[in-house]
């Protein structure tokens, strides 16, 4: 770079420095417009608040037994147990500890009495 080029670069540097010092400053109005645009474009941050659903007794009971499918299975099992107990109590008594001690007779005594 010769002396002439150096002077040219120095002159341009002085001009660029003056221009940078005179850079426009964003006005308050501009910043307000930009922030309004941001607010309009932005999705709300908060998770939407959903009011708790009112639940009736039937719904609560259904939830406790795992819905209609769970409740149906439970009812079927209970019914099957009752049928087995009525039709062949010996089978049931054979699984009960103390059945040989006559506990089963105490439990089912009323039934046998009515049979007699």
């Amino acid at each position: 770079m010769d002396a002439f080029d150096k002077k040219q670069d120095q002159a341009l540097d002085a001009l660029f420095a003056a221009a940078k010092a005179a850079d426009p400053i964003p006005s308050g109005d501009l910043m307000a417009r930009i922030m309004a645009g941001a607010a309009g474009a932005q999705k709300p941050a908060a998770v939407p608040i959903v009011a708790p659903e009112r639940r009736g007794f039937g719904q609560t009971l259904s939830d406790v037994f795992g819905g209609w499918a769970g409740a149906s299975t439970l009812v079927a099992c209970v019914g099957l147990g009752v049928v087995v107990g009525v039709v062949s109590p010996d089978v049931v008594l054979s699984y009960l500890p103390g059945a040989e001690l006559g506990l089963g007779d105490d439990v089912f005594g009323l039934y046998y009495e009515s049979e007699l």
């Binding site: 850079d23 501009l30 930009i34 932005q42």
Partner: protein, 196 residues
């Protein structure tokens, strides 16, 4: 005086994610970080404060809209904004083709620094006005390259990325741009206190 940027340590990419997730403070940080440089580039290109503000607003609006799809690490927010701003300015220049007027004294903002002497301030203002006027005489691509390189202080590769051209092409534009500026300013160099 800009308000204190409480998220000044957070990267632009992270702020974009925060903004997309609904963080209002992220928008404030991005706006205060980038609006001055976007506005400055638009003003260099258009030489009209009101139009430059419209472009800055439009560029930031596009940033808000792209935030949910922003891909971290692919592009710098500043580079992306410079590119959008350049394109918006180009659109406006083409719309107003032939209607442009050179910068007038009153259209050049007052220098931000109030400490220099009155004489220094006047010289500074004259030089800023002269450069702004000379810039408007350059072909659009030269003006864009000179503004990005010497006024926005981007590196040559960054200018190339913003303009979508090679670094060699940038260097060519800068060389011709500087020669063009000196030719236009040659007649006024004494009044501007310059020697070349």
């Amino acid at each position: 005086m800009m308000p204190f940027d409480s998220q000044s340590e957070i990267s632009d990419d992270a702020l974009m994610v925060l903004f997309a997730n609904g963080d209002g403070q992220a928008a404030t940080s991005l706006a205060y970080r980038h609006t001055p440089r976007v506005l400055a580039l638009a003003y260099r290109m258009l030489s009209d404060q009101a139009e430059a503000e419209d472009v800055a607003q439009d560029a930031l609006m596009r940033l808000w809209k792209i935030a949910p799809d922003w891909r971290q690490g692919e592009a710098k927010v500043s580079t992306w904004l410079y590119r959008v701003t350049s394109n918006l300015c180009t659109d406006r220049l083409r719309k107003h083709s032939g209607k442009r007027r050179p910068a007038e004294i009153d259209s050049v903002p007052e220098p931000a620094d109030e400490t220099p002497s009155v004489e220094a301030r006047l010289i500074g203002r004259d030089r800023a006005t002269a450069l702004q006027t000379a810039l408007q005489t350059l072909p659009e691509r030269q003006r864009q390259a000179v503004s990005l390189r010497f006024l926005q202080e981007l590196s040559n590769p960054e200018v190339a990325e913003v303009m979508g051209i090679s670094v060699d092409a940038v260097e060519s534009l800068l060389s011709r741009g500087k020669r063009g500026l000196l030719a236009v300013l040659a007649d006024d160099k004494m009044e501007l206190g310059l020697e070349f």
